[in-house]
């Protein structure tokens, strides 16, 4: 009788301790659970593969350090993917701390490329970081016609007219893809809705392999916000989605570039399992307690 009551109102410190152990033990002793990429991630990877070599793409870092564990592995993998395909990358941010996240991701990518003996991307020629601009959706509208008016300087204070890469990117019409790594608003919804409204090039139809003159919109979001973007995927307004750390791990698997997201899959799996066990336990004790109360009443 006492056990049911105790378990129904279990001290939350015990729950915290169990969750902590569920995260720490698999980190120290990895299980190596197999990662099978999901359909939205495969679509993201396949769409990026369609972008012709030498094309210009934009990556918007619409997040801050709070969501770094989920979104930073996506940023690293995406930049690695872009440079492996010899794409020219324009980085910008609709969140104030986004440019720093871009710089941190570039550091890791440079280390990875160096370790593989590949040439390092050159600033101003292969990639630029335009920094943060306030205004959300209106920044996206402005980029439809004139990058220079919205971003006269890059994050280092260099005039964008002095950056060779930006000679070829005058407006959004020069881009082959927009990637938004988003932790909220402004982020993916703004890019999807406002870019179409502002007259950005239309996306390719599903199955279309020649994407010349078309523009892809691809996103990476936290696990908690990813479900809200499925309507965009279903209507081809977005061509692929990385959802949470699992999405990042799937992407790392497809790129054969195991990183922190893949490492995080074992702890996340066990933590989810523990939470599910807690939910089941809580419901068993809830029913037992309810039955006891009914018996007492009769």
């Amino acid at each position: 009788m006492g056990l049911v009551k105790t378990m129904s109102s279990l001290d939350r410190r015990i729950i915290f301790l169990v969750v902590a152990l569920a995260v720490i033990i698999p980190l120290l002793l990895p299980i190596g659970l197999p990662i099978k990429p999901t359909a939205p991630v495969k679509a993201f990877y396949d769409s990026t593969e369609l972008i012709p070599e030498g094309s210009y793409v934009l990556i918007s870092f619409d997040y801050d350090p709070a969501t770094m564990p989920e979104l930073q592995p996506m940023a690293i993998s995406l930049l690695y993917h872009c440079f492996s395909k010899k794409l020219k990358v324009v980085m910008m941010a609709l969140w104030p701390q986004g440019p720093q996240m871009a710089d941190l991701a570039m550091e890791v990518v440079n280390q990875q490329l160096q370790a593989e003996g590949k040439p390092l991307p050159e600033y101003g020629k292969d990639y630029v970081n335009l920094g943060y601009k306030s205004g959300g959706g209106l920044v996206i509208i402005g980029l439809a016609t004139n990058f220079g008016a919205i971003f006269p300087l890059d994050t280092n204070g260099i005039r964008i007219s002095e950056l060779p890469l930006m000679d070829k990117v005058k407006s959004a019409h020069d881009l082959q893809a927009v990637f938004s790594l988003s932790a909220g608003d402004p982020g993916i919804p703004a890019w999807v809705m406002v870019s179409r409204m502002a007259g950005y090039p239309t996306p390719p139809q599903p199955g279309e392999t020649d994407i010349t003159g078309k523009m892809l919109i691809l996103g990476g979001a936290t696990a908690v916000s990813a479900p809200q973007f499925y309507p965009y995927l279903n209507t081809n307004q977005m061509q692929g989605l990385l959802g949470g750390m699992r999405g990042a791990a799937d992407y790392e698997t497809l790129l054969a570039l195991p990183g922190t997201a893949s490492e995080g899959m074992d702890p996340q799996s066990i933590a989810h399992l523990v939470i599910v066990i807690f939910i089941i336990m809580a419901n068993i004790f809830f029913f037992l307690e309810k039955r006891q109360e009914e018996r007492k009443a009769t």
């Binding site: 729950i15 099978k36 564990p69 699992r246 066990i270 809830f286």
Partner: protein
Amino acid sequence: MKKQFPLAIVFIAGMIFIVQFFSPAFTPIQERFTHWYIVVAVFAFVLGLANLTRLNLQKIHRQQEGWIYSIPLLIGLAGMALCSFIFGIEEGPFVWLFNNMMLPMSATMFSLLAFFVASASYRAFRARHKEAVMLLVAAVIVMLGQVPIGSAGFMEHLRLSDITQWIMAYPNMAGQRAIMIGAALGVVAISLRILLGIERAYLGED
């Protein structure tokens, strides 16, 4: 005049943004307004900064509950701002503070969610009625199907990952779409009320 002038500005600016969809003649004005907005939006930061400083100084002065936390807040605020003004944001102390304080502290705060989610789900996720049972079953499937353990060992035969993808792509999408359409209609309604001067909360009126 104090009220009519802002109302007139809102009406004219709003109408230009609507009309430019139908007539290219208004596009240059809309582009100019877009650039103005980006500049004006920066002033929100200045206002926010001033307000944050004022409120926390007041809190310290009056020694209100939790006033002690306002001290590191103000030191952090002033410290980061000064470092960026003096040494720039690409290198130096600002970058060091960002990488070694801002990053781990923000990530820690977000990571705490895992503990609170576990505790809250233990206390609140109860199968009290059939709708709650449906939610509970869907949540358990998605939680396991979204992680590799859902397709490992005996759970592979349960095809939790496939069921999760189905839940996300159909019931979830339908629900999300309904929310989006509802929210969009709400935005249209409130926008019209603002443009027509019916909704005046932004002027400080109730």
